[in-house]
């Protein structure tokens, strides 16, 4: 009886591992396939035979993308929006969340409700669009940053984290005569690294990935961030920059290969940052979501 049970246990555990590994492969597969294609020669891509390993390895697609001036420009615009936006958002969010974590103070609960209400109900597309127009933010990178300065979900994560801190920390500082502001900047923020890392990652990814707002608010080609550029290249198959190349340099290149390489190169910043921050954000979410 006991042996039988441990057999079914073992089968169960094997199943667990197989399903988990299978899910991981499923998550990686599209990415690895496109990576392999971006490193393959034109004829191999067209033959449709490229699986997970490059066929007739070449770096030309990658080099073409990295050297392409339109790509570089769009990449820099995205870096700029992401860095400035993330710094602004983290500052605004951290500063707003702290007083909101002091629920016993008069009025705080009401203000919190004002924030939460906007998670459940919002003005929607056209009123937001008209607002940006009226603020003269069309064709201005501010249109990507200002409306996104505070994400209420991230703000609540931060507030919950502050609430989880032991009150004794602040009380002893208060006894020493420190002001509230002093406490925020010299005690609270320095010990909040996990939640700062978490929301920095969330904001950075949101700014980096945003396609919808630039599509709505930016017409000037010089301001085109990476996601708009990607949409043109990858999904609308406009290869204007490919047409400008001389024929000699196109031997191994193909629109398809370049599209693949563009996808890969655009993903690299996220692939670089994400594993570094991962150990923080799991901790940050666990602490911040205790109260939901």
């Amino acid at each position: 009886m006991k042996i039988k049970q441990s057999l079914s246990e073992r089968v169960y555990i094997w199943l667990v591992y197989i399903i988990l590994i299978g899910s991981a492969i499923l998550c990686l597969f599209p990415f690895l396939n496109v990576l392999a294609k971006s490193l393959s020669s034109n004829w191999a891509i067209i033959s449709g035979k490229v699986g997970l390993m490059p066929i007739a390895f070449t770096m030309e697609n990658m080099i073409f993308v990295i050297r392409d001036q339109l790509f570089q420009k769009a990449f820099l615009v995205s870096i700029y929006v992401t860095v400035v936006g993330t710094l602004g958002s983290v500052l605004f969010t951290a500063v707003t969340a702290y007083p909101l974590s002091k629920k016993h103070l008069p009025g705080i609960k009401f203000i919190l409700l004002l924030y939460i209400f906007t998670m459940l109900f919002n003005g929607g597309l056209v009123p937001s669009y008209l607002l940006i127009k009226n603020l003269n933010l069309m064709d201005n990178l501010g249109s990507l940053i200002l409306p996104a300065l505070i994400n209420v979900f991230n703000m609540l994560l931060m507030k919950n984290y502050y609430e989880s801190l032991p009150e004794s920390l602040e009380e002893s500082a208060k006894l020493d005569g420190a002001s509230n502001l002093r406490i925020v900047f010299s005690i609270i923020i320095p010990i909040s690294a996990p939640v700062f890392a978490t929301i920095s990652l969330f904001y950075a990814v949101a700014y980096w990935s945003n396609w919808f707002s630039p599509m709505l608010y930016l017409n000037d080609p010089a301001l085109k961030p990476l996601q708009l550029y990607l949409r043109d290249i990858v999904l609308q198959a406009s290869d204007e920059n490919l047409l400008n190349q001389d024929i000699d340099s196109l031997l191994n290149l193909s629109p398809e290969g370049i599209r693949n390489a563009t996808i890969i190169v655009s993903t690299i910043p996220i692939l670089l940052v994400y594993p570094l921050l991962q150990k923080y954000f799991i901790k940050g979410i666990l602490i911040g979501s205790v109260k939901g």
Binding site: L20, P30, L105, S209
Partner: protein, 304 residues
Amino acid sequence: MNRGNHWISQIKRNYDLYLLLIPGLVFLAIFKYTPIYGLVIAFQDFNIFKGIGDSPWVGFKQFERLFASDEFGNIMTNTLLISLYKIVILFPIPIIIAILLNEVGRMWFKRTIQTIIYLPHFLSWVIIAGLFVNIMSPQTGIVNGIISYFGGEPINFFMDNSFFRSIIVATAGWKEAGWNAIIFIAAIAGLDPELYEASKLDGASRIQQVFTITLPGIASTIVLMLILRIGSVLEAGTEQILLLYNPTVYETGDVIGTYIYRMGLTSMEYSFSTAVGLFESVIGFILVIGGNALAKRVTGKSIW
């Protein structure tokens, strides 16, 4: 000391904390509540040159037009079908993943799987659309390569009304299924380890433990997440669909969000589009509020 004085002294003592609230409140007023005020144009024939002040009021005309329009039935059907498929098929997956991860003892393995399955969440819809258009391309995609290998005809997935909704559900699952497990992983991590120890002594197998300890332990989290999810049933994935659809598949893929976009910003029907958006928001709001009240009664917990 009466209550009012107590309040005033508290505000005075903490005036610097209240100062910290100001930047956020300015943000809230401009970027959140001004658009909410802007919803009034749903009851106007809004003219952008006249502004809200001088545009004529028309009552519920825009809503009547919506309910009478030919597209309304189609976009409601598509929205509800895509959302329901997403809920029925995709909602259980993160729960299963969280439970399976809980069975794994080796930390490095658990970490590695988590790192990989969270990754798609961090990719933009443009990238994901690019990836899937690529691997499903009728000429060079590996999916059609496999279909041809087994003697099938290549399928143009993104132009085919019989596949479009499935693709929307599958790509949404690929992006978010792993990430959405995080909340359930957190809930399982919060369960008392002694429960598992005790049931082990009672001779329960690990499979039995899943049904007697893990699932009941995270049931309230599941209910809350489901209610939140149902609250957004009319948001079928606007950005995703805008990137993946084309006029050929409007029949199965046009949803409220994409319709709002086309009407509002392509056809410049500001008032009509705002009315459609308001219709969507109000229903979503009622669903969440109602669902939350229901959750409070059923599980004793609520979102706020």
